[in-house]
């Protein structure tokens, strides 16, 4: 037992071996304070997705502790998993919208299935659509939207229940550079509004541009953890970071305009 798990996210010596024998994570330690924005980088197969899956209990670690909001979710009883999932929003590369429901219904769906209804449902759905800038596309079906708009919709769905943590697994993997940058700006905005954000990505452009804390995985181990980092190691001297992030509120959204 580590001393104090006040951090919003605290992985302690996490090992993960899949049923097929693949060792996906090897002794990972990672700590995120509330309000941080962190990039998780590394080559395909380095264990980024696996790490994210541990946080919302898609997968249980073979050993180690996964503290989320003061709870070790590695030891969480199955009956408590839904409550955990309500605290952790997720966004994927492939959007995963329901094709036969409108954008509004897709976002509202996440509230309906946890028992929210009536005016509360409309209020929160509209607010989330507002945040992602899709209020005027609410009645459209997913296939009528561009890729970027679809990703905005999934982000709205992920934050509609105001989770303290947002996980994004390659959220720009299917998008062109301009759109990718818009999506990252949106995630940054959500972070500034108070959500802790962890983004797995191997999109060098956006990682370099945003200058956030970067954690690099290689064959399931953390090989780098630096504040204001870049995607690749070659640049600026590496600062080993204890896990302490800077206050994201210091960064003003306006300063992040994309400027090719």
């Amino acid at each position: 037992m580590s001393a104090n798990h006040s951090a919003v996210l605290d992985l302690v010596n996490v090992w993960l071996r899949y049923g097929n024998g693949v060792l996906a994570l090897q002794g990972v330690d990672l700590r995120l304070e509330a309000g941080e924005f962190v990039f998780l980088v590394g080559q395909t197969g380095s264990g980024k997705s696996s790490l994210l899956c541990l946080i919302n209990r898609e997968v249980r670690p073979t050993s180690g502790e996964v503290w989320v909001d003061g709870q070790d979710v590695a030891r969480l009883r199955a009956g408590h998993v839904p409550a955990l999932r309500r605290k952790v929003g997720v966004v994927y590369q492939d959007f995963r919208l329901l094709p036969d429901r409108t954008i509004w219904e897709n976002v509202a769906f996440a509230l309906r299935v946890i028992g929210v209804g009536g005016r509360e449902l409309s209020r929160r759905t509209e607010m989330a659509l507002d945040v992602v800038g899709l209020a005027d596309r609410a009645r459209a079906l997913p296939h009528q939207l561009s890729g970027g708009e679809q990703q905005r919709a999934t982000i709205a769905r992920a934050i509609v229940n105001h989770p303290p943590i947002l996980l994004a697994d390659e959220p720009t993997g299917n998008l062109d550079p301009d759109t990718s940058w818009e999506i990252i700006q949106l995630l940054n905005k959500i972070n500034i509004l108070g959500t802790t954000v962890l983004v797995a990505s191997h999109d060098q452009m956006i990682v370099d541009r945003l200058q956030k804390r970067v954690v690099e995985l290689d064959h399931g181990t953390v090989v780098r953890d630096e504040a204001g980092g870049r995607y690749a190691l070659q640049a600026v001297p590496t600062v080993r970071n204890s896990g302490q992030g800077r206050d994201p509120r210091l960064r003003v959204l306006d300063g992040l305009r994309y400027d090719p």
Partner: protein, 292 residues
């Protein structure tokens, strides 16, 4: 929480059913067919059982008394029989009454037997319940004053064994068919589950409880089961009406076609069976699916 979400949950179940309209039609009709077959077996088993159970009632136990028995003793024996447990009726037929009856029956042939009455007094006993007839006959046989007992044993014995075979076979068949029906519904639900795997996945990701996720599918299973049962009940009801019409034309009181099944109970049982198999079927496939 579930209560507040009922409109949404019912709507989702309705979407399941509508989007998979063909599947729903297919599963409802397979349920209807298998429940109809099951219903026919159940009906026949019930009918045969009731019929055979009631047959021995037609048989009386005839206890012939010794010739030396006085009329007073015969009367007290009759009273004694009447008090025995399982006896519905005990009646003394004196040798004179029996002789008169016999001669009336034989009419023209009295000369063959002369005027001497060869018959003893006898006590005619009816059991409360057909199946008890044999045991009762054995008990009576050992009583003093009783010379001989005639209870149609052979026939009764056969009928009772036929009844129990019919009942056992009917139950086994009904059980097998119920399992088959549950499997069919389970399969249909599995297909719906597969078609809706995206919705389920998202429900799981945003923290819907398992109960919430299951509800629409369980509802769907129940609807399929009950709808199928309703169709099966309607078909069987028509068949029963037809059967009754035939029996009326055939006006025989004691016929195997005379309906002995308690129809409201029978149809209620069939509907309940539909509901339970629907519930069971959906739970089986949900168990497998949500665990994976």
């Amino acid at each position: 929480m579930i209560l507040k979400s009922l409109p949404f949950l019912f709507h989702e179940a309705w979407l399941n059913i509508r989007r998979q309209a063909l599947m729903t039609v297919a599963s409802v009709s397979t349920v209807a067919v298998s429940l109809s077959i099951l219903g026919i077996f159940l009906f026949l088993a019930w009918q045969l059982h009731a019929w055979t159970a009631e047959l021995p009632n037609q048989f009386e136990i005839h206890a012939f008394l010794r010739m030396t028995t006085s009329r007073a003793t015969a009367a007290s024996l009759t009273e004694q029989f009447r008090q025995m447990s399982g006896v519905r009726e005990a009646r003394l037929v004196t040798r004179e009454e029996a002789w008169d009856a016999w001669r009336r029956q034989q009419q023209n042939r009295t000369d063959l037997y002369g005027e001497e009455n060869p018959l003893p007094d006898k006590i005619v006993v009816k059991a409360e319940n057909g199946a008890r007839t044999l045991a009762l006959a054995d008990a009576i046989r050992n009583l003093p004053g009783v010379e001989r007992v005639n209870a149609g044993e052979e026939v009764i014995r056969r009928l009772i064994s036929v009844a129990s075979i019919v009942r056992t076979a009917g139950l086994i068949l009904a059980g097998l068919l119920a399992l088959g029906t549950a499997a069919i519904i389970s399969n249909a639900i599995r297909l719906t589950l597969f078609a809706r795997r995206r919705e389920i996945r998202i429900m799981q990701l945003v923290g819907a409880t398992n109960g919430f996720i299951r509800f629409p599918f369980i509802l769907e299973g129940i609807v399929a089961g009950v709808l199928g049962a309703t169709i099966a009940c309607s078909l069987l009801y028509l068949a029963v009406i037809y059967l009754q019409e035939r029996v009326r034309l055939n006006l025989t009181l004691f016929t195997p076609l005379h309906i002995r099944v308690d129809l409201p109970l029978f149809f209620a049982a069939l509907a309940a069976l539909g509901l339970v198999t629907g519930l069971l079927g959906s739970m089986i496939s949900l168990r497998r699916f949500l665990r994976a």
